[in-house]
Amino acid sequence: MEYVYLGAVLGPLLGAIIAGFFGKFIGREGAHTVTIFGVGVAFILSLITFNHIVLNGAPIYNETVYTWLISDGITFEIGFLVDSLTAMMMLVVTFVSLMVHIYTIGYMRDDPGYQRFFSYISLFTFSMLMLVMANNFMQLFFGWEAVGLVSYLLIGFWFKRPTATYAKLKAFLVNRVGDFGFILGIAAILMYFDSLDYATVFAAAPAMADATAKIAVGTEWSVITMICILLFIGAMGKSAQVPLHVWLPDSMEGPTPISALIHAATMVTAGIFLVARMSPLYEFSEVALSFVMVIGAITALFMGFLGIVQNDIKRVIAYSTLSQLGYMTVALGASAYAAGIFHLMTHAFFKALLFLAAGSVIIAMHHEQNIFKMGGLKKYLPITYWCMFIGAIALIGFPGMSGFFSKDAIIEAVKLSTVPGAEFAYWAVLLGVFVTALYTFRMFFIVFHGKERFDKHTREHLHEPSKVVTLPLILLAIPSALIGFVAIGPLLFGDYFNEVITVLPEHDVLAKLGEYYTGPFAFILYGLGWPVFLALAGVAVAWFLYVKRPDIPEKIKQRCSGLHDFMSRAYGFDAFNDSFFAGGSRGLGRFFWKEGDAKLIDGVMVNGTANAVGHIAKFIRYVQSGYLYHYAFVMIIGLLLMLTFFV
């Protein structure tokens, strides 16, 4: 199987290299053929892996590929850990990536950077696979930063746009703040476990449960809590949790296919994957779990609110992504890791679908993204309409859709959780259901129903995009609708994650939930409670406000202009970061440079020394005037002084 895993990783890498370096020679067709072939191979090998590990129940694969370096008795390796969690992530990543590759043929058809784009998204697939298949923290960090690099390159893909180059820099720097915590977490692991290998560290974790470290004078920190929180800071960066979420809305500057692939389905869920993978550590720190849960709950609710005031179709979905990532994080905090991963998977399908459908709308509208310049598109884009509809009802958790199962499981799990903060988190995710339905269908109704708000010229050219665009939509719509139904049993209440995810008995909310579980149909019936009611209420309110009485939102906006303003500025995070961190750093830099280096060191110390030598020399030059009477005068004075002293 080693060759299968290597092939899955190297296929996309080779595709990226060929398309990147030889794009000119192989042309556009060559570039998309070679990269789609590479990712296609990875997808097939992922299917084989899934079959091997999950369906045939092969033992967990954990082997080294090569030794990166050995220092101080610590071996740093590149290797693969393939278990049921990895197999599922590989499948999700390569499937969505393959869909996005195909879709890109249509979406980027006229772009001069065609080959470059394919090279980047294949490179991304390689990096993401390295991340999920890592068997040690060093390689995890490699994948982590590599996906960050590709994200940086792709957000700024249209490098002529100032907003895009700004957004890419912002995304990289904010992620680096997370990585700052992450790398310290890795250092802490090495210090206390003497290894960076997952298996070794996890095996030793229970023994470290009560270990403490003296970090600050007079206090002792639990080692596991420190490690978990440091690692989670990394996750907060990548998975865009408050307050490190600020980069994700801006990342929408990138072309839509990568918004679907990187900034919705895969990369941003790396943080969720990380915490689930580290469940053997997180289980031993209730403080860390509580921290995770509260951060997730804040993100889930408050980022959802912002979705209601966005006018850009991609930004609505971006804030929805933030909010849904919050849901996953809450699940992790409740020790319902499986539910978090389950939601990660369903979200990957329906959110990729929503983004690609939005992209389809954007192409049809000639790159218009403002939803208030659309309207009534249903009759022009029927396939897109129905695919978007499936994505939307999956997102809001309509009973039977994939999102229903995963989201309801999270809400129920949080309800049962006893971790501090669980009550707040419960209300946040419950209320979030209403908010989700409201912003989703607000966008949906404004775009597809109601009056047409575009000119005649646009209408004449309005038609469904080509098959390469609609085919991935349809292929993504299928799992968006059905996967929850199939997967909930084994994933949440079966033995899918045995030996992979560790949950202590006292935290095991999913086991408690499982006591009532008798099958997906029963789950639907059992779940027909507040969440479903809230979701439908959200849809109804959206319909009333944006289809029936479109005059009301305007009035609300005017009545609460202060609140609306505050929300339009996304609670002021950006303004604060820009003036405090960015401006402050630049100011501090200038201060250190002008006052420290230039004035103090160079001015006073260096040139000061030179000047001092010059001044002394000047003074001494006066003394050595060469006139005899000067010397005679000094001699006489000297003689007089000596006489006064000694005589």
Binding site: S71, D72, T165, V177, F180, I183, L190, G589, W593, I601
Partner: protein, 504 residues
């Protein structure tokens, strides 16, 4: 000795080659260039067996040469390398080939002298890395300043004389103290062998004085805060090749002095004053990173970035005492020292590459100012790809060489102290900020002006130089084991010396 005296050959071949270049300068610039390139490549090839035939299982000096030089004072011509110094000889011979190429069409004035200066400097720098006699070391150390002084002073920018003199005075000031320390040690041991210096017992006061003398001498060269201000000036005025050698090799000599002289000769003083080195290192990492953020001159920015990165090197060397005090063993410290050595090699590639990149732009537009550029990617896509790659290496992206050393040092520093690691790790954010902000302003965006619109992408020669460096940066990032394996016994031995008290 039956074997060839490899070290002598790699020292003297380029020096004699340099003199030869001067002798044949009338044959025309082309002949001069090809001859210089031939000498540089030959030297590089001859230096390769130093790596391939190196015995990685012992810490002792290898390829040793010992001849009496001035018997009256027991001064010997004594050469040898261990796992710490050997990589830098290869780095020097390698970088010199690239600098000769980098000056190919660019240097039109006094080509022969320019090439000769680089070749002679190469030999002298190699001499510094393999001298095992204090006086021999000092001679190479001082002699090396002269070609660099000339390179900055003759082929430099507008303010070259100020920069050259500042460079010379600064380093010379340090060197005087170095000489005093070496002579003091001679009176204690009766000869000038550096390895004998390692074993001599000294009182704490003597150690501290020697330590401080060394610190000034080597600290200026590294350079450490607050004696760093000569470096940005020197870089700005130096021609591209000069900047490359300065950043890639000369800075490493200061750091090399730390491990060859300070840690083994004055271990007790090092232990007493490690807080001083660590504080200065952290100031370099953080304070200098902020200063870099404020620069508009690309060369200055990279120069400040160099200082910040060298702060990591000195930090990696001096965390050993904190770890030793805490755990009673040196386990964990070797990662810091090895990380620092890897960082030195890696920084040689990356800073060299970045200065070459700035040189490519400067040759076309005669400006180093960030604000003069913008949207370079539109007219120079290949160059832009290289620039972004080296920028990413500069901020320590995994998969590039810049990551390896930084990662190892942060891991090791965490063992010493949480807060130190926390401060050091801020480089992840600050380094990315100043480097990528520069990239954003220079490379991306719309074409900023007519000059940028007229830019031509890299030619074959430039592509070749940057391509080779790109391969080195990636290779070392993906597979650093061969480089690190060379160091193990020497670093372990060094750490034993560093924690062994030798008080009188």
């Amino acid at each position: 000795m039956s074997e060839l005296p490899l070290l002598s050959i790699v020292i003297w071949l380029p020096i004699i080659g340099g003199l030869l270049v001067l002798a044949v300068q009338k044959a025309g610039d082309d002949a001069v260039r090809w001859l210089s390139l031939g000498v540089a490549i030959l030297t590089f090839l001859i230096s390769l067996p130093l790596f391939s035939k190196f015995d990685t299982s012992i810490y002792q000096m290898q390829f040793v040469e010992l001849h009496s030089w001035i018997p009256a004072f027991n001064i010997n011509y004594n050469l040898g390398v261990d796992g710490i110094s050997m990589p830098f000889i290869l780095l020097t011979t390698f970088i010199t080939v690239l600098t000769i190429l980098a000056g190919w069409e660019v240097i039109k004035k006094k080509t022969a002298q320019y090439m000769a200066a680089f070749l002679i400097m190469e030999g002298l720098m190699i001499g510094v890395f393999c001298a095992l006699d204090g006086v021999l070391f000092y001679v190479f150390w001082e002699a090396m300043l002269i070609p660099m002084f000339i390179i900055i002073g003759v082929w430099g920018g507008e303010n070259r004389v100020y920069a050259a003199i500042k460079f010379f005075l600064y380093t010379f000031l340090g060197s005087v103290l170095l000489l005093i320390a070496i002579i003091y040690l001679f009176f204690q041991t009766g000869n000038f062998s550096i390895l004998d210096f390692h074993d001599v017992k000294l009182t704490l006061t003597a150690q501290i004085l020697i330590f401080l003398a060394f610190l000034v001498a080597f600290g200026v060269k590294v350079p450490m805060w607050p004696v760093h201000t000569w470096l940005p000036d020197a870089h700005v005025e130096a021609p591209t090749g000069g900047s490359v050698v300065l950043a890639a090799i000369m800075l490493k000599m200061g750091a090399y002095g730390f491990v060859r002289f300070m840690l083994p000769i004055t271990p007790d003083a090092s232990s007493e004053l490690d807080w001083l080195i660590i504080s200065l290192s952290l100031i370099a990492i953080i304070y200098i990173a902020f200063v870099a953020l404020a620069q508009d001159d690309m060369k200055k920015l990279i120069a400040y970035s160099s200082i910040s990165h060298m702060g990591f090197v000195t930090l990696g060397f001096y965390i050993v005492y904190l770890i030793y005090d805490r755990t009673g063993s040196v386990a964990g410290a070797a990662m810091g020292v090895e990380g620092a050595l890897v960082q030195m090699v890696s920084h040689g590639f990356i800073s060299g590459a970045l200065f070459l990149c700035v040189g490519v732009l400067y040759d076309r537009m005669h400006s180093r100012s960030i604000s003069a550029y913008g949207g370079v990617v539109n007219t120079m896509p290949v160059f832009a790809a290289f620039f972004v790659l080296f920028a990413m290496a500069n901020i320590g992206l995994p998969g590039t060489s810049g990551f390896v050393g930084e990662f190892m040092i942060i891991l090791a520093t965490f063992k010493a102290n949480f807060w130190l690691a926390l401060l050091a790790a801020t480089t992840l954010i600050l380094g990315a900020a100043y480097t990528l902000w520069m990239v954003k302003r220079v490379i991306f965006g719309e074409v900023a002006n007519d000059q940028v619109a007229a830019l031509k992408d890299v030619n074959n020669r430039e592509f070749f130089i940057l391509g080779i460096l790109a391969i080195c940066v990636l290779w070392l990032g993906v597979y650093p084991a061969p480089l690190v394996d060379v160091m193990h016994p020497s670093v372990d031995h060094l750490l034993q010396q560093a924690v062994q008290s030798k008080l009188l």
